[in-house]
């Protein structure tokens, strides 16, 4: 079993986040299209959760006491697949077929085809509700798993998110954690221009949540934030607003995060991006 809060150095997790970026570029290259910059913005969050925070049992993906992780912003599944393969949920050979006909690994996660996916996503705004259900189920069964839901900030424009936020505090679900990858952009442009969702801390607080704001690329801060979550049996859900940069970690995508929300790098762009990340990893 992978215990909660297992040993990992911030340096290891930083490198792990960059490894997720590398694998994302490679997978999208094979598939022909994919979401680069919104995966890059949450690479540190995924690294800290999967290599430090979550209690997991990859040999038994349906182990009832595992911590749940729901990828509300399902379009970044491309960053999750290498993690799940690395942890042993499925063979690394599966990555070869990513995005192709018959592959269990799609652009958005499908719980019926990919072991380790706690719930499907793809339609934004649903997974916080699903997380409420999982947290309620855990309490009814007397289990102490935590339920994490990673949402985008654009996703918070969906009204159902706020129905779920209301229900989470109404039912005092202290074991529920929403992590907002607040990279400031949705598919069509800056979140603030499309439909302002700020102030996020005040809004979640007003909905009865404990809300904290962190630098979503600072792995040490993320580790500490997740290490200090209140007990599962406590009565207030937690929202971690992770301020991130869309396209983080690659000059090309940082310079034009919107252009690389969805795209396919040319061979030259791909090689330059890989080289840039590999230089950091050396």
């Amino acid at each position: 079993m992978l215990e909660r809060g297992r040993a990992a150095s911030p340096e290891d997790l930083r490198r792990r986040a960059d490894w997720i970026r590398l694998e994302t570029i490679r997978l999208i290259d094979r598939a022909g299209l994919g979401h680069y910059s919104s995966t890059f913005s949450c690479a540190e969050i995924l690294a800290v959760l999967y290599y430090h925070t979550l209690r997991l049992l990859p040999d038994r993906p349906d182990w009832p006491d595992r911590d749940r992780f729901l990828l509300g912003k399902g379009h970044v599944a491309v960053g999750l697949w290498p993690v799940l393969a690395d942890l042993g949920y499925f063979s690394k050979a599966w990555l070869e077929g990513y995005g192709h006909l018959g592959s269990p690994l799609n652009d958005h996660p499908n719980m019926r085809t990919a072991p380790g996916v706690d719930f499907s996503s793809g339609s934004l705004g649903h997974n916080l509700s699903v997380g409420v259900g999982m947290a309620l189920a855990g309490r009814l069964r007397g289990r102490d798993y935590r339920t994490f839901v990673l949402t985008g900030d654009g996703e918070l424009q969906e009204g159902q998110v706020w129905e779920a936020a209301m229900a989470a505090s109404h039912y005092r679900l202290g074991g529920l954690v929403a992590v907002v990858d607040a990279n400031g952009f949705s598919g069509g442009g800056p979140t603030s221009e499309a439909m302002n969702i700020e102030p996020l801390l005040a809004r979640f607080t007003a909905f009865g949540w404990r809300a904290v704001e962190v630098d979503g690329h600072d792995v040490a801060v993320l580790m500490e934030t997740f290490d200090r979550l209140p007990p599962v049996g406590s009565e207030v859900p937690t929202c971690v607003v992770a301020r991130t940069r869309k396209g983080k970690g690659v000059t090309l995508t940082e310079a034009a995060p919107q252009s690389w929300h969805l795209g396919h790098m040319t061979a030259e762009q791909r090689d330059a991006a890989l080289a840039e990340i590999e230089a950091r990893l050396r």
Binding site: F119, H126, S129, V130, V132, G133, Q160
Partner: protein, 324 residues
């Protein structure tokens, strides 16, 4: 509050109304399920009046989610993914129609055993305005892969369907329209995916669902006096649909009428037409239901009369079909 005789329509928020015979079925059956099985939970979108006993006796198994139907469906999906058997109770007009996408993405694609109980479907809330008609829901539900769609036609069949489907491994929607004539004396045996032969007859087959079954049965009795023997089939299962029974009925009688408290676009009639076309059955077919037009607003009994979803109305449709 209503203190008089059986009301012409249900006050959905009145526990007193909820204790009347027609309304009791859902609340009593869900209470029974909760008491029989430790995995059953009941989720409500402000529909607690019919579940007063359940709320009182098992508050931990009753999850009120307020007027937020879509959230309720996704919450249920999360509970189902953790081993529970959730029943979501919602008002028909704000049920399948409003939650179509949550039912598809969170329930049907993942094949989770969520039960969606849409009370007061069809014209049952038609007094309140056009927003309260639920007449597109069968079309939506039956187009969703992996979803089982059932429609009880009266109180005993509501009980029968809730009981007999409890172990079904996938998702189910129950389209319940309470404003119905009684068809069955007691909860009938309904084979999964089967049509129930309510009455035998060889001259014409009336395939009906929900409110339509009682109207069809009444029509069969009226037509018997005219020497017309009507076979009445209860399409309690709209999906899967008993294609063999439909084909057999069409071949044996040569004339099929469908009856439903639903739009003629995409409902039972459309489904039967698809079956007959697929199997190339040469039979006369007529569809009786609600027009693809702005519907009137009135109490359900008045609306059913207006749209001919009554024994006399169905009998007239049968005569017209047989004269064609």
């Amino acid at each position: 509050m209503s203190n008089g005789p059986e009301p012409r329509m249900e006050n959905v928020f009145s526990e007193q109304d909820a204790r009347r015979a027609r309304q009791r079925a859902v609340g009593e059956e869900l209470l029974r399920l909760v008491e029989e099985r430790e995995d059953v939970v009941v989720l409500s979108a402000d529909m607690g009046a019919v579940m007063a006993d359940l709320r009182e006796r098992h508050p931990e198994r009753y999850v009120e989610l307020g007027i937020a139907e879509t959230n309720a469906v996704s919450v249920a999906a999360g509970m189902a993914a953790c081993g529970f058997l959730p029943y979501v109770v919602s008002m028909g007009p704000f049920g399948i129609i409003k939650c179509a996408e949550q039912l598809r993405s969170d329930v049907a694609y993942p094949r989770l055993p969520v039960r969606f109980v849409a009370r007061l479907s069809g014209l049952a809330m038609g007094f309140f305005g056009t927003t309260h008609h639920a007449v597109e829901d069968i079309a939506i539900a039956r187009s969703i892969t992996n979803l089982t769609v059932v429609a009880p036609c009266d109180e005993p069949s509501t009980r029968a369907l809730l009981r007999s489907t409890v172990d079904h491994p996938g998702p189910i929607v129950y389209r319940i329209s309470e404003g119905t004539d009684r068809v069955y004396a007691e909860p009938p045996e309904i084979r999964p995916g089967g049509l129930v032969t309510v009455r035998e007859g060889g001259d014409v087959a009336v395939i009906a669902t929900g409110v339509g079954v009682g109207a069809a049965l009444g029509a069969a009795r009226l037509l018997e006096a005219e020497g017309v023997r009507v076979r009445v089939l209860d399409a309690a299962y709209l999906k899967p649909l008993d294609e063999a029974a439909i084909v057999r009925a069409a071949i044996e009688t040569g004339a099929v009428l469908t009856v439903e408290e639903h739009s003629l676009v995409g409902g039972l009639g459309t489904a039967v037409a698809e079956v007959l076309a697929r199997h190339r059955v040469p039979a006369r077919l007529a569809l009786h239901g609600l027009p693809d037009a702005d519907l009137e607003v009135a109490t359900p009994d008045v609306l059913l009369e207006h749209y001919g979803l009554t024994p006399a109305g169905v009998a007239a449709q049968v005569r017209r079909l047989l004269a064609a």
